[in-house]
Symmetry: C2
Subunit: 226 residues, 2 copies
């Protein structure tokens, strides 16, 4: 028996394109590195409010840069990311509250589907420029991830229950306690230390901290599985 796997917590919101990038890279590495990956659906709006941070896209030059950066990283990381046409409307008006509450219920009831449902929501909003706020949008993502329509409807009915609201709030608070001022946040629990890494661009550093090999954003095993 080898050493126990180290735990990685990934705090993410499907409204955040950099969260998608981190998510895909960690999902590729979870079977390569000796780690246990815990996906933690979080509300980015809650993080911004609690930390006093502003979304980077509010500064015009950052918004312009981000559009190019996300496009280039998508190509490099082989994640089919495409910016929604009305970026500001999607991020600042529509938001992700129901979607993230839905993922919270999925985690509680069907943790085995959390990765797939999360990915389908990103595919909608950050690849095909489709809505993720209406009930039928969320149901469509759940079905595409392999959940039955009936079960998806049952879970969707629970998004406004105190249990689910509180769970999402608790996860968001936990990210804040780790020092989050945006998402994604990866928390690595090593034998004697805990590291909080912000963004999708600390994965090579994470490998270094874990004492694991960095094989680039598309490691050979991940390619083989596609």
């Amino acid at each position: 028996m080898g050493p126990l796997p180290r735990t990685l917590e990934l705090f993410y919101d499907v409204l955040s394109p950099y969260s998608w990038l981190a998510f895909e890279v960690l999902c590729r590495y979870k079977n390569i590195w000796n780690v246990s990956l815990q996906l933690r659906p979080t509300l980015i709006a809650g993080i911004m409010k609690d930390s006093g941070n502003q979304p980077p896209a509010l500064l015009p030059r950052k918004a312009l840069y981000m559009k190019n950066d996300v496009r280039l990283l998508g190509q490099h990381l082989q994640v089919p990311i495409h910016l929604p046409k009305d970026f500001f409307f999607v991020i600042f008006e529509k938001g992700s509250l129901t979607a993230m509450r839905f993922l919270t219920v999925v985690k509680l009831e069907h943790p085995e589907l959390l990765e797939k449902v999360s990915r389908e929501l990103w595919m909608r909003v950050w690849s095909r420029d489709e809505d993720i706020t209406e009930p039928q949008s969320i149901l469509a993502a759940a079905e595409k991830a392999g959940m039955s329509t009936g079960r998806a409807r049952e879970l969707l009915e629970r998004v406004s229950t105190p249990q689910v609201k509180n769970q999402l709030k608790e996860t968001t608070d936990a990210a804040c306690r780790y020092g989050a001022f945006g998402l994604p946040v990866t928390v690595a629990h090593l034998d004697d230390e805990t590291y909080m890494l912000f963004g999708s661009d600390r994965m090579e550093l994470l490998a270094h901290l874990l004492g694991e090999k960095w094989l680039g954003p598309v490691p050979p095993a991940a390619t083989a599985r596609l």
Copy 2:
């Protein structure tokens, strides 16, 4: 004869620790990749003003994160970076105007020493917590980089001339025209496209854009030369 090297411009300020990280990685790769590296001393205060951006350290959680991040990246990248004790005083009160004007004269008169003098200034402020604003501090860095005291004094006398002031302003304006909202900025001129990359964490992406190999932040050739 192989293909002509592509040009990389690195816009940097010695007040910026992430600039130092990008600088060392690019200095390691300039002899490994088929590139010509142009070092461009820039004033970060001018970039922040022109873009309307705020230094990240003004947000308490970002300041806290940055301290850890810089420490971890320094270890991973093997750059002997240590935060000055009074971080805020160094960045917000003392600044880097004279130092960056001095590097501007060095680039004009002794481009072959620019890399070394820049590194010695970073070693002062971001490794040994020493001043970089007083004349004797700048002279000490220049001498450590191999410049004679007499020559360093001559150059220092020129930091307030219109030629030098204008040159630093022009370089800062050039970075802004590329869309800079902070430093470092790496501009990669490829055959048919120009890419602007912000920060020290786009080096693997840069390798991808150049069609060159990423061998980690400390490539074997760089280790061999140490």
